[in-house]
């Protein structure tokens, strides 16, 4: 177990280094760069531009810039935002809560609903419910998230007026109920794709288990249908889903990016887009590293949970 964690840590560090190098390289390939915002300032001369570049360290060769950035990061210095001159961690921290709120709630919805639809589809195979779920999943998978977002806003905010069209809270309110009211639409829209994916996988996993001998054994023992399903079938069907959940995290992050933009949700997704627009390298790199760590953590947790449930898995 300890050996497993040490090995995982090494792998993660190597992965993070590779991710950061690719991210850093690609970022600096984009035309313009952080200086382009000053270029339009009236009275700006080339000399001033060069001086700013030197101050920011942007005139050095790329590998040096990277090593400088990496060295500071190791010391806990994530850099300072070009845009508002605040430490990167402070900037990310300000948006972290919003994204986490959105991700956690949409994950709860998608796992809960997706699992239920999947199990019911498997136990009532080829029923109206099953066909509806199948078609529904195909639609949710083939239509982009932002479209659902826009339609959601149009129907529930503009036409029916039930739900707010954007933002995380009403200025001047900020009660828990107000937050929840704002959360409903974006979290459901973000969850849609994952409900679709989750229900399909869950259906297959349940069908795999439902015909296994040990399920028949349970029935032969006189165990009630309900317990057969919950304990024997679902317990085993959820095993492959745990790994899947760990891998869904990157999807969720990129989905959040779109959803947050559509719903003007003040989360990391929007911060990322805005920072890209400003060529705010330190913030973009910070977000990149942050989400990479999140994904690695997600997979690690998935492996640990799977091992704790399945006695056959020995982490090594």
């Amino acid at each position: 177990m300890a050996g497993f964690l040490v090995k995982r840590l090494w792998q993660s560090i190597i992965l993070l280094i590779i991710v950061s190098m690719i991210g850093f390289g690609v970022l600096h390939l984009t035309p313009g760069g952080p200086l382009s915002q000053y270029a339009l300032t009236p009275g700006m001369t080339q000399e001033t531009m060069d001086r700013i570049a030197e101050q920011m360290g942007l005139n050095r060769p790329l590998p040096i810039q990277y090593l400088d950035w990496a060295w500071r990061l190791l010391q806990g210095d994530w850099g300072t935002s070009y845009r508002d001159q605040q430490p990167v961690l402070t900037v990310i921290g300000r948006h972290l809560f919003a994204t986490m709120l959105l991700m956690v709630s949409s994950t709860v919805i998608s796992i809960g609903l997706g699992t239920w639809i999947g199990i019911r589809g498997a136990t009532h195979r080829y029923s109206t419910f099953d066909y509806t779920a199948t078609v529904g999943a195909m639609i949710a998978l083939s239509i982009p998230t932002f479209w659902f977002g826009l339609v959601g806003i149009y129907v529930f905010s503009l036409k029916l007026g039930w739900l707010p069209a954007g933002n995380m809270y009403t200025i001047g309110d900020g009660s828990v109920l107000d937050y929840l009211h704002h959360l409903i639409l974006p979290s459901i829209v973000l969850a849609l794709v994952n409900i679709a994916i989750w229900s399909r996988y869950m259906r297959t996993a349940t069908l795999d288990v439902i015909n296994q001998d040990f399920v028949k054994t349970a029935r032969a023992k006189g165990v009630s249908e309900r317990r057969v399903l919950m304990k024997h079938v679902v317990g085993n069907a959820l095993l492959p889903m745990i790994t899947l959940a760990g891998m869904q995290l990157p999807n969720l992050l990129s989905g959040a990016l779109v959803t947050e933009t559509v719903f003007t949700w003040p989360g990391m997704g929007r911060l990322f887009l805005d920072s890209l627009g400003y060529n705010d390298y330190p913030v973009v790199m910070g977000l990149l590293m942050f989400s990479a760590i999140l994904v690695l953590l997600g997979n690690l947790i998935a492996d640990l949970v799977a091992a704790s449930i399945d006695p056959r898995i020995r982490l090594a």
């Binding site: 001998d213 040990f214 029935r219 023992k221 006189g222 095993l239 449930i309 006695p311 090594a316």
Partner: protein, 558 residues
């Protein structure tokens, strides 16, 4: 067949008084579009109190369907269309779901064929045994645990206290089957239904489980309905026998009578097809004299070790799969390898065709050591050493035609397409398939026919050596006999040397000229079948031979 049905019914009526369960005119429908309309048709029998009733038949005979119908556990696609299953005066088929559930596990228990998949992998053995009691609201948590411990002790599991908290994956197949039996006995049911409970087990384990079932049955006076395809098993434990063929009951009677004087032609055929231990060795198929002819393959001191784990931080685990194996394969002769699962016999076969690499030792083929050869150098020799696999369903690509399956190898080795096809047609005919098979797909064939395709595929190369890994183990006895006959015929015609891996000693005695007995990677005894079976020297060989079901019974003669 109609006459038979009537006879059995008459018998049933006279035996009515002391039977625990009566099946009357039971018919179970198959889904539409299957080869026949009924899984079982109009069968009637009684399960006598305190006796073991064996239901025997080949695959598709409806024996398992019968067992599942009794439990109310038929697959959702199958329905009972008529008949009654009477228990204590009530018809189980008319019973409500909840009422039926209350009978399961308490009055009627069941154990299954594959102990590896019959236990929930995520629950401890103890929890699964206790679940039976909990499902029927018996006792408290403490008393249940005490009872579970008793049961695990009763079925002869080692260290029952530890076993209680063990997960199934840590147990061997035989141990898991013992857990299944413990579970089935938890509430002391009147009836135990055993659906091929020993088919997936090694002979020695099979003998132990049969003994256990028999012992418990006698002690508790239980009635056992025992489903099997193996007449050897029937000979070991049956009081009465029912023979089934294609959904019909063709014969019923006291076990001894059915053996000594089978009435129905199908029963006669089935008994005749059971592989027997030969008293004398197989008539020599080789045209060469042993002393003068060079061996085709000479194996010397071959070793192979499986290593697992061994990353940066974990210890390497070593399993010696093959240790110091030495033997020779001769033209026109069959060398058999017998042993339990895990004895290394399959690894040895794989070493011969270089699907596995050996760690040390030599395999001499035409004077060259192929064991040390690189894969690229060996590829030219590969056609000469061919393999026949165990599972006729998994070993043929379902998306390829038989023609493609048979010719793809030779064409890859440089044969012209037209030549390959011509040759394929002759060989298909040789293995007993008509030329129409060439363009058809594997799913259109039965297990036995597929195994013929597998043999044809191997023969396409005119091999010098055939490695057959459990080539007939997945087949019904009557088909088994046909395939063994075919292999014998082919060997006489082509003088191919065969390396025949099997766990079934009776099969081995049919086809082998010489035998190797393997245990834990070592060859513990070698010799002709007559010596191995009738004068075994090694204690392990003696144990194996003693475990063959039905040996000390009539089956040995005839």
């Amino acid at each position: 067949m109609i006459a038979q049905g009537r006879i059995s019914k008459n018998k049933a009526e006279t035996a009515m008084s002391d039977s625990v369960l009566s099946v009357r005119n039971l018919t179970v429908d198959l889904p539409k579009g299957m080869e026949r309309q009924h899984a079982v048709q109009d069968i009637s029998f009684d399960l006598p109190r305190g006796e073991i009733l064996c239901v025997i038949g080949e695959s598709g005979s409806g024996k398992s369907v019968t067992a599942n119908a009794l439990m109310g556990l038929l697959p959702s696609l199958m329905h009972v269309s008529s008949g009654e299953i009477l228990f204590q005066g009530q018809n189980l088929l008319k019973l409500e779901k909840t009422a039926l559930r209350k009978l399961r596990g308490r009055v009627v228990s069941m154990i299954f064929q594959d102990p590896l998949s019959a236990l929930n992998p995520l629950m401890t053995v103890g929890d699964q045994v206790m679940e039976v009691m909990a499902a029927h609201g018996e006792g408290t948590t403490e008393t249940r645990e005490k009872r579970a411990l008793e049961l695990l002790t009763e079925v002869g599991l080692p260290d029952p206290t530890l076993m209680l908290h063990q997960y199934p994956f840590r147990l061997s197949g035989g141990q898991r089957q013992r857990v299944m039996i413990a579970m089935a006995l938890a509430l002391e049911p009147d009836i135990l239904i055993a659906d091929e409970p020993t088919t997936a087990l090694d002979v020695t384990t099979q003998a132990q489980i049969l003994e256990l079932i028999q012992k418990i049955q006698r002690k508790k006076g239980m009635s056992v309905l025992f489903i099997t395809h193996d007449f050897g098993v029937v000979a070991e434990i049956a009081d009465r026998v029912i023979v089934m063929e294609k959904g019909h009951m063709v014969e019923e009677g006291v076990a001894d009578t059915v053996f000594t004087a089978p009435q129905h032609p199908y029963t006669k055929r089935l008994i005749a097809a059971v592989p027997r231990l030969r008293e004398t060795d197989r008539p020599n198929a080789s045209e060469y004299r042993d002393e003068t002819d060079e061996p085709v393959l000479a194996v010397e001191k071959l070793n192979m070790v499986y290593r697992s784990g061994g990353g940066w931080f974990s210890r390497v685990r070593e399993v010696k799969a093959v240790q110091d194996a030495s033997f020779t394969l001769r033209r026109g002769r069959t060398l058999g390898v017998v042993g339990e699962s895990g004895s290394g016999k399959t690894s040895l076969g794989r070493l011969l065709i270089k699907l596995l690499d050996s760690d040390s030792g030599q395999i001499l083929y035409e004077g060259q050591d192929i064991a040390s050869m690189r894969e690229s150098d060996f590829r030219g020799l590969r056609p000469k050493i061919q393999m026949i696999f165990q599972d006729p369903f998994a070993s043929l690509n379902p998306r390829s035609t038989i023609g493609h399956i048979v010719t793809v190898g030779p064409i890859a080795q440089g044969m012209k397409k037209a030549d390959a096809k011509a040759k394929a047609l002759t060989i298909l005919e040789k293995v007993g398939l008509d030329s129409g098979a060439f363009g058809r797909y594997p799913h259109e064939f039965s297990g036995g026919q597929r195994q013929r395709v597998g043999i044809a595929r191997a023969l396409m190369f005119d091999p010098d050596v055939l490695v057959a890994d459990e080539a007939v183990s997945a087949l019904d006895v009557s088909i088994q006999a046909q395939i063994l006959e075919l292999l014998d015929k082919i060997q006489r015609e082509t003088q191919v040397a065969m390396f025949f891996i099997t766990h079934d000693l009776r099969v081995a005695s049919q086809i082998c000229d010489d035998l190797l007995v393997m245990q834990k990677g070592r060859i513990v005894e070698a010799g002709p079948p007559s010596q191995i079976f009738y004068d075994p020297q090694d204690p392990y060989t003696r144990e194996l031979v003693a475990a063959i079901p039905g040996t000390d019974h009539i089956l040995q003669q005839a």
